[in-house]
C-alpha cells in the first residue's frame, strides 16, 4: 500500500473511508491554501499565546485546515475559555443526576424507571441577523441534543429578549423569532409548554433567543456520545453538508457590528424541520436497534466538534475521509466541510459490520447514511482528502486543551451610579393609582403573552397538563402517575444592577414557579448570556452571576446538569444586560392530583399572601415605564426564607388545600392579582385589603421577591395560614375572589386602586396584539 500521506489517489474510485496515518505523519498544505500569517491567525480568533500553544501541540506550523479546526474548537462557543473556570463553581451532583455537564444534555432520574434529558441553548447571534432561521435552527439544534441521548423530545420552552417594541426593527425581530420557534417545533410535533419574553432597550441589536428542550426515556435507553471500538465505522447521517453556517461557532463568539446583518448571512444556517422529524425517528430507531455505539449532532463547529469530541470522550482517535462526506455542491474544501454548520446532520459510530443495517433504517426514513471514517487507536483527529492527510491533531488537547482564563472583574461605574440613585420621589404617585396600574398593563413585559404562545402548538403529543401562560408548563408521563414541570426565568435588569442578587433571584423565581405548579424543583440547565468578557465590568458580571447561581442552586438542591454560554453579546461596544437564564425542571409525584394553575377558581375563595412586602422599587417595570431608567438596588433575595416559602406552598398544594398558586414577580402584587383574576375563562373580581403601612406605589407595584399568592376555600383559611406559619412563613389572608365581572379592588392604609375587572382583562390581553399590529409590525424596517 502506498503511503497515503504522499500519494494522492486519482481516477474515479473513491478513497476508502478507513485511511489512517502514523501520528508522526505531517499533513500536506493543499494547493491554494492561504499562507499562515499572524493576521490570518488573528482573523481566526486565536490570540498570539493561543497560537503558541497550537504550535506546541503540533510541533509545527498548522495547515490552513488545522487552523480552522483550532479556531472553531477553541472558540468561546465550543471551548468555554472565558467561562470554564467559573462554571466549575456550580453544583452539579445529586443522587438523581444520571448525567451531568459535558454531554449533549443533562439527564436526571424522575422515578418509575424513567429519565429526563434536558438542556437549554442560545442562538442569539444568528437570530440578530436572520430572526426566522436563527430561531428555527436554535430549536432544531437543541432537539438533536436531546434525541442523541436516546430520549424522545416531549417539550420545548423559549426564553426571549428584544429591544422595545416601539421600533419596527424590534417588531420584525420579535415576530420573526416567534414564527421561527413556532414553525420548527410545530412541524416536528413537540409542544411548547412555556418560556418568557422581556423587552428592554438593552437588547436593542442583540436579541436573546434561548431554546430549551426536554426529552423522556426509559433509564436503560440512555446513550452517550463516546467514540469507542477501534475499527468501528463513523457514518454521516441525515442532510448533506453545504456551505452554510461556516464558522458559526467563531461568529457566535464575536461582537456584532452595525453592518453584520448583511455580511454575516452566510454564517447563519437554514433549518428544515421535516428532515429533523425524519432524523428524530430514525435516530431513536437506530439507538433502539443496537447497531450503533454512539451518535452526536453536528452542531456548533459541525463535523469538527462532533468527531473530535466523540474521540476525546472515548479516549480514542478518529480518521475521516472528506471525499466520502455527502455534500450539496462540488468543490468544497476540507476546511469548508469540516466547519460547515449545515443543519439536521448526525455523526454515528456504528458497530463494525452493521453498516448495511444502519443504512436500511435510514432509508426507511428517506435519509442517507454514508461511512466517512473510523475509530482509531492513535488518539489523533486525522483528516484525509482523497487519501491525502490534510490535518492531524491530537484529539484530547484539541477538545480539552483550550486555554481557560480567569480575568479581571471590576464593577462598572455606570452601574454604581445607577444603583446609588435615590428613588424616593417615585413613592409619591402622580395621579391616581388605578390609572397608574392601567398604564403599567400597557407594558408588554407584564401583559398577556398569548400572542406568542398561540403560534406554538402546545397540545400535540396529548400530554400537556398545564399550557403556557402561567407559572410553569406541566406535562404528564404516559403510563406513570408522575409528571414534570418546567420553566425559564431571569430578570436582566436585576442582574445588571446586582449580578449576584439577580442570579439568585432567577434561580429562586424558577423554583417558585415550579412549586406554584405543584412540582418539587429538581435540576437546572443554564444559559449564560453576557457581553464581552475581556472587558473587566462584563467579567465582573459573569463571575458574580455564577457565584449567585451556585449559592442558590446549592441551597435549593437543584444541581446544574449542563447548559450553554453565549458571550460577546454586544453591538458596537454596548453589551446586553447580564442575562443568566435559568431553565429548571421539577417532578410531580402525582400529576393528576397536584398539577396547579395560577387562575382563581371560585367566587368567595380567600386570597392568601405568603411572604413579606417591602418597599423596593429598584429595577422595577414601574420605574422603567415611568422614567425610562433602570436604577436603584435590585430586590434582595433571602434564600433561606425563600426555601421555607417553597416548602410551605408545595405542602399546601400536595395536601389539596390550595386551589390556585401564583408567584409574584414583575409588576408586583397588583399585576400578580390581576393575572390570577384573568387566568380563568371569565375574569373574576378581586377584593383585597392589605394592612402594610408602606407607600402604596411600592406595595402595589414593587417587585419584592419571595411572595406567593394562593386561593383557598373559605373554610380552609385557618388551616392554610397555620400550615404556612408552621414552616416559618409570614402569611395573611388579604381578601376574597369576587364575582366574575365585578371590580378589581386593592386597598391599603395609604392608598387604593379600583378598576372594572373587564377593563383590566381587556388591556391585559390587548397590549401585545396592539403593539404588533402597528404599521409595518412584523415587517423589516
Amino acid at each position: 500500500m502506498t503511503d497515503p500521506t504522499t500519494a494522492p489517489t486519482t481516477g474515479s474510485t473513491p478513497a476508502p473511508a478507513t485511511a489512517s496515518a502514523p501520528v508522526t505523519a505531517t499533513p500536506a498544505p493543499r494547493p491554494g491554501d492561504p499562507e499562515i500569517t499572524a493576521e490570518l491567525v488573528a482573523d481566526h480568533g486565536l490570540s498570539p499565546s493561543e497560537y503558541e500553544l497550537v504550535l506546541g501541540i503540533l510541533g509545527r506550523t498548522p495547515t490552513f485546515t488545522e487552523l480552522g479546526i483550532f479556531s472553531a474548537m477553541w472558540s468561546e462557543h465550543c471551548g468555554y475559555k472565558n467561562s470554564k473556570r467559573l462554571l466549575r463553581l456550580l453544583p452539579t451532583e445529586a443522587p438523581w443526576v444520571i448525567q451531568g455537564p459535558g454531554e449533549n444534555a443533562g439527564v436526571i432520574d424522575v422515578g418509575d424507571g424513567l429519565a429526563v434529558a434536558f438542556k437549554i441553548e442560545s442562538h442569539n447571534h444568528p437570530s440578530a441577523v436572520e430572526p426566522y432561521q436563527g430561531a428555527a435552527t436554535g430549536v432544531g439544534g437543541i432537539l438533536r441534543d436531546i434525541f442523541t441521548m436516546g430520549a424522545r423530545p416531549v417539550a420545548v420552552l423559549d426564553s426571549l429578549r428584544f429591544g422595545d417594541l416601539d421600533s419596527p426593527r424590534n417588531r420584525y425581530l420579535f415576530a420573526g423569532v416567534v414564527r421561527g420557534v413556532g414553525d420548527y417545533g410545530n412541524c416536528v410535533g413537540i409542544p411548547n409548554i412555556g418560556g418568557e419574553v422581556f423587552f428592554d432597550r438593552a437588547y436593542e441589536g442583540n436579541p436573546i433567543v434561548n431554546a430549551m428542550a426536554i426529552g423522556l426515556m426509559k433509564r436503560e435507553e440512555l446513550i452517550t456520545a463516546e467514540a469507542t471500538g477501534v475499527g468501528n465505522p463513523m457514518m454521516a447521517v441525515g442532510a448533506r453538508t453545504g456551505r452554510d453556517g461556516i464558522h458559526g461557532a467563531t461568529f457566535a463568539s464575536e461582537e456584532l457590528s452595525g453592518d453584520d446583518d448583511v455580511s454575516s448571512r452566510p454564517r447563519v444556517q437554514v433549518g428544515d424541520p421535516f428532515t429533523e422529524k425524519l432524523l428524530l425517528e430514525a435516530s431513536l430507531e437506530l439507538i433502539g436497534s443496537g447497531h450503533i455505539v454512539a451518535i452526536q449532532d453536528m452542531g456548533a463547529a459541525g463535523l469538527t466538534s462532533a468527531a473530535s469530541e466523540m474521540a476525546g470522550r472515548g479516549g480514542s482517535g478518529v480518521s475521516l475521509e472528506m471525499s466520502r462526506i455527502p455534500v450539496r455542491e462540488s468543490g468544497m474544501t476540507p476546511y469548508e466541510i469540516l466547519l460547515s454548520e449545515s443543519q439536521e446532520r448526525m455523526l454515528v459510530v456504528a458497530k463494525r459490520g452493521r453498516e448495511d443495517e444502519v443504512r436500511k433504517i435510514l432509508e426507511k426514513w428517506e435519509l442517507e447514511a454514508e461511512p466517512v471514517g473510523e475509530v482509531t487507536d492513535n488518539g489523533h483527529f486525522q483528516i484525509f482528502e482523497n487519501g491525502v492527510l490534510v490535518a492531524s491533531i491530537p484529539a484530547l488537547p484539541l477538545t480539552d486543551g483550550c486555554p481557560t482564563y480567569e480575568r479581571e472583574g471590576i464593577e462598572g461605574d455606570d452601574v454604581k451610579v445607577a444603583r446609588a440613585r435615590d428613588l424616593g420621589h417615585l413613592l409619591e404617585p402622580e395621579g391616581d393609582l388605578s390609572e397608574a396600574f392601567m398604564s403599567l398593563l400597557k407594558s408588554p413585559n407584564l401583559a398577556s403573552k398569548r400572542w406568542i404562545y398561540e403560534q406554538y402548538d402546545t397540545t400535540v403529543r396529548t400530554s400537556t397538563v398545564v399550557r403556557p401562560g402561567g407559572d410553569a408548563g406541566v406535562i404528564r408521563f404516559r403510563g406513570s402517575r408522575r409528571g414534570l414541570a418546567a420553566t425559564t426565568d431571569c430578570n436582566g435588569r436585576y442582574c445588571w444592577l446586582n449580578p449576584r442578587e439577580g442570579a439568585k433571584a432567577a434561580v429562586a423565581e424558577a423554583a417558585r414557579n415550579l412549586v406554584c405548579s405543584g412540582a418539587l424543583p429538581t435540576a437546572v440547565t443554564n444559559n449564560l448570556n453576557f457581553g464581552n468578557p475581556l472587558k473587566p465590568h462584563i467579567y465582573h458580571q459573569l463571575r458574580e452571576a455564577v457565584l449567585g447561581m451556585a449559592e442558590a442552586c446549592a441551597l435549593f438542591e437543584t444541581p446544574v446538569t449542563g447548559g450553554n454560554v453565549s458571550l460577546f453579546n454586544e453591538t458596537d461596544g454596548v453589551a446586553i444586560y447580564p442575562t443568566p437564564v435559568i431553565g429548571m425542571v421539577g417532578v410531580l409525584d402525582d400529576v393528576e392530583a397536584h398539577a396547579m394553575t395560577h387562575g382563581f377558581k371560585a367566587e368567595g375563595d380567600a386570597i392568601l399572601l405568603l411572604g413579606e412586602n417591602r418597599e423596593e422599587m429598584g429595577g422595577s417595570e414601574y420605574l422603567y415605564r415611568k422614567e425610562g431608567v433602570v436604577a436603584g438596588e435590585a430586590p434582595i433575595v433571602d434564600l433561606l426564607a425563600e426555601r421555607r416559602l417553597q416548602h410551605a406552598v408545595l405542602g399546601l398544594i400536595q395536601k389539596g388545600v390550595a386551589r390556585s398558586a401564583h408567584d409574584c414577580s414583575e409588576g408586583g402584587l397588583a399585576t400578580a392579582l390581576a393575572e390570577c383574576a384573568v387566568g380563568s375563562e371569565k375574569p373574576f373580581g378581586v377584593q383585597v385589603r392589605l394592612e402594610d403601612n408602606l407607600a402604596p406605589v411600592a406595595l402595589f407595584f414593587g417587585e419584592t421577591q419571595g411572595r406567593v399568592l394562593l386561593s383557598v376555600a373559605p373554610e380552609d383559611v385557618d388551616r392554610a395560614l397555620d400550615m404556612a406559619r408552621d414552616h416559618g412563613v409570614p402569611a395573611v389572608s388579604i381578601g376574597a375572589v369576587g364575582a366574575p365581572g365585578s371590580s378589581f379592588s386593592i386597598r391599603s392604609p395609604r392608598g387604593h386602586l379600583e378598576l372594572d375587572i373587564g377593563r383590566v382583562a381587556e388591556q391585559y390581553h390587548a397590549t401585545l396584539p396592539a403593539l404588533m399590529t402597528r404599521s409595518n409590525g412584523g415587517e423589516p424596517a
Binding site: 412541524c187 425524519l278 398561540e454 406554538y456 397540545t459 400535540v460 400537556t464 397538563v465
Partner: protein
C-alpha cells in the same frame, strides 16, 4: 374493531390518534406506513395531523399521491369510515375525497388554542353520539385551516346537511371572532356525500381525557364505535 392509523413522513399526531383509540374498549389501532399499498383487514381509517412530506408544495399535496392513499380511496369507496384530522383533512381535500381546500390562515400565523365547535349534524358515523347543536371545546393547531369551496359546493354542503362542525362562541353563536381562520360558513369539519368520510381541522384526539382539559372529543370515537359495532352486529349471521 381495527383502526388503521396512517403515518406519512412528517405526521406527528399519529401516536396521539393511536392513544385516543386505545382509550376506548373495542378499538384496536394499528399503524400503517405511507408506502403500504394495502390496508389489510381494518374497519376504519384515521388520517392524522402533522406536516406530511414537510407540507412541501401545499399541505397534503404530496401525501395524496402516496401508495397508502390508493388503499384509503378504495376503502372509502366501499363505504369504510375515514376520519381525517388537521393535516388529514388537508390530505382528504387534496385527494378529492372531500370538496374544497384549506388555505393559509388569513392572519398568516399559526393558531393554537381551544375553540368551540357546534355540532351541526348527528347523521354520520362520527357524530351520532352528540346532540345536534351541542357546543364542544376542542384544541386547534394549524397554519392552513381557512376552509374554502366554490359557491356550488358550499350550497351542496349546506343543502345536504354535510357540515359536521362549525366554529362558534361559547354559547353556540356564530361570530367572526370565534372563527379562528375565517373559514367560509364557519366550517370546521365536513362530510362527503356518502357521509362515511369526515375531515376536520380541530383535534378531537386531544380532548379525550380530563387531565388534558377537555373530554369533548370522546363523542367522535364513541360514535364511530357504535357505528362499527352496529355494522358488525348486522353482519353476524
Amino acid at each position: 374493531m381495527k383502526v388503521a392509523v396512517i403515518t406519512f413522513p412528517g405526521s406527528n399526531c399519529d401516536y396521539d390518534g393511536y392513544q385516543a383509540f386505545k382509550l376506548l374498549d373495542g378499538f384496536e389501532p394499528e399503524f400503517r406506513w405511507h408506502r403500504d399499498a394495502a390496508l389489510g383487514d381494518v374497519d376504519a381509517v384515521f388520517l392524522p395531523g402533522g406536516f406530511s412530506y414537510g407540507d412541501y408544495l401545499r399541505p397534503g399535496a404530496i401525501a395524496h399521491l402516496s401508495p397508502v392513499m390508493e388503499a384509503v380511496r378504495d376503502f372509502a369507496a366501499g363505504g369504510g369510515p375515514v376520519l381525517g384530522v388537521c393535516n388529514g383533512f388537508q390530505v382528504l381535500c387534496e385527494s378529492g375525497l372531500l370538496p374544497g381546500a384549506l388555505l393559509r390562515n388569513p392572519s398568516l400565523r399559526f393558531r393554537s388554542h381551544d375553540v368551540h365547535l357546534r355540532v351541526e349534524t348527528t347523521r354520520s358515523p362520527f357524530t351520532s353520539a352528540y346532540e345536534k347543536g351541542a357546543v364542544l371545546r376542542i384544541p386547534i393547531a394549524h397554519g392552513d385551516g381557512h376552509y374554502t369551496a366554490s359557491k356550488e359546493e358550499l350550497a351542496e354542503l349546506e343543502g345536504e346537511d354535510r357540515i359536521a362542525f362549525r366554529y362558534c362562541t361559547t354559547e353556540g353563536g356564530l361570530a367572526p371572532e370565534s372563527n379562528p381562520n375565517h373559514s367560509e360558513h364557519h366550517i370546521a369539519g365536513i362530510l362527503n356525500p356518502a357521509r362515511n368520510i369526515l375531515g376536520m381541522m380541530p383535534h378531537p384526539e386531544r380532548a379525550v381525557e380530563d387531565i388534558l382539559g377537555s373530554t369533548d372529543g370522546l363523542g367522535l370515537f364513541e360514535s364511530l364505535r357504535a357505528h362499527l359495532s352496529g355494522t358488525l352486529a348486522t353482519q353476524t349471521p
